[in-house]
Chain length 340, copies 2
């Protein structure tokens, strides 16, 4: 393959450089909405898929072939970091990550250990396979410390984060120790991904919107900042994504990153004015995709029209694709964004 065949539109948008069209990819673009993925899931559990390089690479490539997106994202699970740190995690269908022994004490935090390259050799191998196949950039990623900490402390997905917040308020010293350990592990994990070939990195802070601005600043922001600063030496674009961040977004100005990823609860145009020197990624409500092409086209047109200048804009959803989405709607959506 000639180097000239490589389509770097996504990377150029991350760096605020001019592009021929608006690049697009989708969070969780590999997943249960695709028949090709479901066929593999019928045979293997999620963790086996993520830890078998040939299968993880194949799954990462499925949406690239089917949809024509401008970036691939490594197929992995955000719990791979805690698992590499020694936590016993089960991924339960229709529930999510479940722990028999949630983190609740100094002893459970001390059991978490930093890990080595050999513990994630499968991930490096997946990335190497993908780089051999892809003609578009490959995005690596990790869950952010707060989101991982909340899974570890709750022991199962929560919509109130009550145990997490109690731990944070009642045992702030242990909280900071836990966040510090996760932060170190995440930095190592993301460095390894770039070393193996990842060409951009996204930190997913899916649950950070559960916090008040004051709590975010005190208990979370220093760790997210540390991660992004530590990744500067990778030279790849860094994407800071969180859901439900409208009330804390001003603090993202302190994060050293190239791209801000947004969910659908904010006006893109307003956020652009707040961050004129960063690229912006988002933000179609993934629920729209379950309502067919007409609704999808209408809302996408609204998003595109809201931006006067599309330099430094990457089209995406506001969160991951849901299993109810129609792959054909996603394919048309890619074409539509490219054409408009």
């Amino acid at each position: 393959m000639a180097v000239s065949e490589f389509n770097d539109t996504f990377l150029r948008a991350c760096r605020l450089e001019p592009t021929d069209y608006t690049p697009v990819w989708f969070m969780r673009q590999a997943g249960r909405y695709m028949p090709e993925y479901r066929a593999l899931r019928d045979k293997y559990d999620v963790l086996t898929l993520t830890r078998t390089p040939e299968l993880a690479a194949e799954i990462s490539l499925q949406p690239v072939r089917a949809l024509g997106v401008d970036a691939a994202i490594l197929f992995a699970d955000i719990m791979l970091v805690p698992i590499a740190m020694g936590v016993d995690v089960k991924i339960v269908d229709s529930v999510g990550p479940v722990l028999d022994e949630p983190v609740d004490s100094r002893a459970t935090i001390e059991r978490l250990h930093q890990f080595a390259r050999t513990d994630i050799e499968y991930l490096r191998r997946t990335i190497q396979i993908l780089r051999g196949e892809l003609k578009i950039p490959l995005i690596g990623f990790s869950g952010a410390p707060f989101t991982l900490a909340s899974y570890l402390i709750e022991g199962a997905p929560s919509r109130t984060w009550l145990k997490t917040k109690r731990f944070m308020y009642e045992q702030p010293k242990l909280w900071h120790e836990l966040m510090d350990k996760l932060t170190g592990a995440i930095i190592f994990y993301l460095h390894e991904q770039v070393d193996a070939g990842a060409q951009a990195l996204q930190l997913f802070d899916s649950w950070v919107g559960a916090l008040s601005p004051a709590d975010f600043r005190e208990f979370v922001l220093p760790y997210n900042r540390r991660i992004f600063t530590a990744l500067e030496d990778t030279g790849v674009p860094r994407i800071a994504f969180g859901t439900d961040t409208a009330g804390i977004l001003a603090d993202f100005a302190d994060i050293d990153c190239e791209v801000i990823g947004l969910d659908w609860r904010q006006d893109l145009a307003q956020v652009r004015r707040l961050f004129p020197d960063k690229a912006i990624q988002g933000n179609l409500d993934p629920a729209v995709l379950a309502s067919g092409w007409k609704a999808t086209e209408h809302q996408t047109a609204q998003i595109l029209k809201s931006l006067r200048n599309r330099r430094g804009f990457i089209f995406n959803l506001g969160h991951g694709v849901w299993k109810d989405a129609d792959p054909e709607t996603l394919r048309r959506l890619v074409d539509y964004v490219h054409a408009h």
Copy 2:
């Protein structure tokens, strides 16, 4: 009782008038965290409690006696409006409102009927009893159209609102018919409450934060505006409360109300600058209450300190009290806000 015994601090704060201290009340201040309430719930289901004037009045008074708050709120359920409109709703313990026949068609919307004073006579009677007992203002309330519509369409509490959004996108005409009907019913319901004696009104839009700003403006805001405008003739302070509204709050400027109620995801001081002519109510994260007095005191001090001027400020939580809260922590919190 002499008129002078009536403590109108809360009403004065709603109107941006000077007060001797910062008034405080709590959303869901009557509820399962109180042993007195649980004793009644052991004998009666929720709907019986809300529709039996002597019991509903007693429950409304429990937190007034136990905590020393500056306003009482009518004990009622947001599903009383749909129930009065003919919907068959069950309130299932630890789940919430459940419908055997969710709203999904023109026929199910047409079955919703406007109701009459006689259908909510129990509510008027509860309010009359309370006004005879209370020396602080009584707040009436209703669920907002979006929040009620989402319960009706989902058929059960949802955290994705996928059915609601699909209905809204795929059948916008029916959506607007449903919202129009709910809006008319809510206006009648709130007028009746003031006619019976309620001295302030709050509209609870608990789930509106699930929407994008564009969807909020198109599918919801016109109805909330209509409700508040229609209530101007009551002369009582009107409180517009929603959770997760940071991304849509600027649009609240179009709502004709005296008070903006906020959850914990926004900085109060910022919101004050956005709405210099409105009172502000909020916004301690209710999760803090489950973490004991020290955390509660710390976070409350932060909130109070963040406001340079406390005229037009009403202290509250960011959402309802959770069943894990300790009544003693709430009692100390009231004293603390009054003293600081």
